[in-house]
Symmetry: C2
């Protein structure tokens, strides 16, 4: 009796914050045929409601598994996202934003690398974007390429010849393009939270950098904005 | 009035497990004139007594600060050091040891990178050794160089031109040479713990890989072995 040869399973670890970019990244990975393992971090950030959003998105996109790793990154200090004594800026800023967390993507990707090895994944997806977040050093293509080179020397899998690709499908896209792609893939952005200071119900402030990029994206894309704001008239 | 120009302060983050290698690494960094910030990890490893050793060594070597970051790395699974269902091997093994933790040094160095940026450090020391631990992919010089290249693209400090050096003073040394150097620098190895399964008093099993390397090192170096073993006659 002849059994048909099964396609080899493609596995990916997808970093999922519950915001627009990482949720779209997960939708893209799934659309590319990957069996997805979503990985979120609880790092004492103000936007705890992001984690609830990550859980909603992971469930809606039917991931194989969703892991949440608790990080002690807040103890490192030095960022308005983890240090409650620094105010989140509501004006546009130039250069590297105060919301920058030291080495955050390096730490996130390192855990993703570890999980990718354990899960025998061929790809690690991260929704970095070099256009809208040009101020963050660890969102640049040259950083991603350097991390990938390091990752392929770091693990038992690498030594044994199983390469890991760091996939950044959003890196050169504008917010409006990201929203258009995700919508075409059936992602409900009403499940996501982008705001740095969303309230407990996941309603956005409408004023921070992240809210402004998101709102402008929906307008530019000509899509209805499903975001729930704390004050509906704040725009 | 002319004030003498002060030497610029050299700052280093030193990863400190409380074992022979990392403790020697700290002694070397200090001897090179660095103001040292020691960084240890509590990652649910069996050898919790290592952390007590790290505290003793940090105090004895008068570091500026000693931070302990709690890691959720055990949740990743896949290693005898964090998974209590796997036995620690007591025989010599070939290839990558079962005690290998996925991407461990990548994760440790990533936190070190974050702390180095916050502390404005010029160097990050790690006591990896490519000879005694040849089975670990993330102890090889090519891995360290790749991490350094990535680190110098990852941070605000890097973007602003302040480079970080990943220093591995032990990478090409044999255990006996490491012990000889540390002893010359005044390090009391009785403070350190190397054993993968030390008891609560920090006494070593004398049988695991780490104990065997350590014991052989003292013999090869012609130094008295100050290690306290659980059964004094087990050798």
């Amino acid at each position: 009796m002849i059994t048909p040869t099964a396609e080899p399973v493609k596995r990916a670890v997808v970093l999922l914050s519950g915001g627009v970019d990482s949720s779209t990244c997960l939708a893209i990975a799934r659309d590319q045929g990957y069996h997805c393992l979503a990985l979120s971090f609880d790092y004492g950030q103000r936007a705890v409601s992001e984690l609830a959003a990550a859980r909603r998105v992971a469930e809606a996109l039917k991931v194989r598994e969703h892991r949440v790793i608790r990080l002690d990154i807040g103890a490192l200090g030095g960022s308005a996202l983890t240090d409650s004594s620094l105010a989140v800026p509501e004006e546009e800023t130039s250069g590297i934003p105060i919301t920058y967390v030291p080495a955050r993507n390096t730490i996130f990707l390192s855990y993703g690398l570890a999980l990718a090895e354990v899960a025998e994944a061929q790809a690690l997806f991260i929704g970095v974007n070099a256009l809208d977040y040009s101020g963050y050093p660890d969102c640049r293509p040259e950083f991603i390429r350097a991390f990938e080179a390091m990752a392929n020397l770091a693990t038992r899998a690498a030594v044994e010849g199983r390469a890991l690709a760091i996939e950044t499908p959003l890196i050169a896209l504008r917010k409006a393009e990201i929203l258009t792609i995700g919508t075409a893939l059936g992602l409900d952005y009403g499940l996501t939270v982008s705001c740095y200071q969303a309230d407990e119900q996941g309603r956005a402030c409408g004023r921070c950098d992240s809210c402004r990029f998101r709102r402008k994206g929906f307008i530019d894309a000509g899509l209805d904005d499903p975001t729930r704001y704390q004050e509906q008239g704040s725009a």
